[in-house]
Symmetry: C2
DNA sequence: GTGAAAGCGCTAACAG
DNA sequence: CTGTTAGCGCTTTCAC
């Protein structure tokens, strides 16, 4: 196998630009990095030279010299591989790569599976191959998160990392308040027996949404109205079956994710319930699939675009040292009323 | 903003390994790159030294020295942004990043939007920032594809690139045969008035699936049975409405994608048709959402895992020069029978 | 505000 | 099979 590197017609280097602009390499470098302490005149000369030469920086060289890599990892631990089938996942990828680009960074998608095991991924990430990491939807006791948290690698978590709320930076929604709003809406519509299918209770989302449900119900709360799910469609379907059997007079259902909600609707229909006439269903996420449900799903909207952008901003600040303390931001949710409730 | 590079406790360099192993830097480098022309004994010494030192290669340095970047772009042109909402997209990303990893490469997700316009993306990609590119679902006359095709950048296309079938490497399914099989299946089930909702006819998938449909129908084909879609759910819904109105006795529907098929099913239901009793529906893709449809969608399975892996393999061969001619591979499809037909 | 000089860690000829 | 020697293109002190 002869490794013939693509020789793309000798890209111009900083040296060429310097010569053409009549300045030194250092000056060009300064312009490249913000143009501080450079005479305006020189800046424009350099820019002009770069333009005519079609210059673009060589990342490898820059990274080697600066000790940074220019890339950021999107870490998906094995347990969350199901995310890949989730339409929200695509949205996140798009937002991340777009936002990172504005900081001159790249997105590297990594999964635990890629490396055989979490340990390997942990080694990789902490070995200096990336400048920082974005971590999605951790659950309690996640080994990889623990590892990264202790490594000093700049890290931003999407969703509150249970057990690391203070140590790590995160961007999340107010799960409790959001769930509460969803359930109160059904209450306001006259529903009286409202059940819930929860997410995993060892995640902040699963737990927070359940707490919000419980708080909204107050004294009306009853353990029999609750079934635990794991975000999967299978769990949504099965939980709905169990619930409707145990509580035949169920007239409302708050489901912790759209994916589970859509599966639950199918089960409800199988059991002969009309939606929303017999039982109202409210989901969570406002995923792209929600509008395709039959009827279209009423759900809590999560601003993935916004949270993704915030996460990237924070991570950048952490990487360049503009922020030293962990940052926490809460993004707003809102109820989207469609046909199911 | 003080740019403080993370000084992760002085990573060991190739030099350290060489010293500990009692060999020269070159030998270590050789071991790192496959260990050709190195005495077995030396190899193990080096490996051992790397182990005790916890050495891992510095990509930036390697890239700078070798003139390669180690990363590969997944190019999604603006027209295909809808892909992000498609569950198949997540599958592709996962497969790509996993497979690339086995070649020591990374996945860089890029979209036309990222760069303001295609031109910018084209500049970026051909400026040497990536070693190669994976291009998803091109349509005819795609400017970016044209640009990349002429640039000499190693490139593999998913789906046949209309107009570049010979010049470029691609991995695709036999669209015509697959569609034909799907329609024949319905024919075999006794359906006689089978309509179709096509994909865009300026894509090989859209066109091929339509041709397969037409071929299967033979003399039974009638233009009135055809509605053109654009892969979107909205198009699926609207096309189904039009079709059922124009052809009230429709008893079968072949839809060129699962997303459109699911939307079409909703429209059919609204029009009072039972599925599959009144009209059978067959989709295409076997996306993760297919099982969640009501009834579950009968569809042509596409082996995304396999095509993604093939694409990466070919791209790697192209990059290292193991392949010089464009490579073409056809991956198999199969009909998955579920409830809708 | 600007230039000179010294590497960043690695690969890749080139001898031997 | 192995060591020596040059850089790859950029950032970054350090003087001026």
């Amino acid at each position: 196998v002869s490794e013939s590197p693509r020789q793309s017609a000798a890209r111009p280097t900083i040296e060429d630009v310097a010569r053409l602009a009549g300045v030194s390499r250092s000056t060009v470098s300064r312009v490249l990095n913000g143009g501080l302490h450079v005479r305006p005149e020189a800046i424009s000369q350099v820019n002009q030279a770069m333009g005519t030469l079609g210059y673009s920086v060589n990342q490898a060289a820059r990274n080697l010299a600066s000790g940074r890599t220019g890339s950021v990892a999107f870490v998906i631990s094995e347990q969350h591989e199901h995310l890949f089938g989730d339409p929200n996942f695509g949205v996140l990828i798009r937002v991340f790569s777009r936002e990172l680009r504005t900081y001159g960074r790249h997105l590297l998608v990594t999964t635990a599976q890629d490396y055989g095991e979490e340990t390997f991924l942990g080694d990789y990430l902490t070995a200096g191959h990336v400048d920082g990491a974005l971590f999605a939807l951790p659950h309690e006791g996640e080994g990889l998160l623990h590892r990264l948290a202790g490594s000093g690698l700049p890290l931003v978590v999407l969703g509150q990392p249970l057990g690391y709320e203070h140590e790590l930076s995160w961007v999340a929604v107010d799960e409790v308040a959001a769930a509460q709003e969803a359930v109160r809406y059904m209450l306001g519509e006259g529903r009286t027996r409202i059940g819930t299918i929860t997410g995993p209770l060892n995640t902040s989302s699963g737990r927070g949404r359940f707490e919000g449900y419980r708080a909204a119900l107050g004294p009306r709360f009853a353990p029999d109205l609750v079934e635990a799910g794991d975000w999967s469609a299978a769990a949504g379907r099965e939980s709905a079956r169990v619930l409707i059997k145990r509580e035949p007079d169920l007239d409302g259902l708050f489901v912790a994710s759209d994916l589970m909600a859509m599966a639950a609707m199918a089960a409800l229909r199988e059991a002969g319930r009309r939606i929303p006439d017999d039982v109202a269903v409210v989901g969570f996420d406002d995923s792209t699939a929600a509008v395709m449900a039959e009827p279209a799903l009423t759900t809590m909207h999560q601003p993935f675009e916004q949270s993704g952008a915030e996460a990237v901003r924070i991570l950048h600040d952490l990487i360049v040292g503009a922020a030293t303390e962990p940052q926490h931001v809460l993004v707003p949710t809102r109820l989207i009323r469609r046909g199911s409730a």
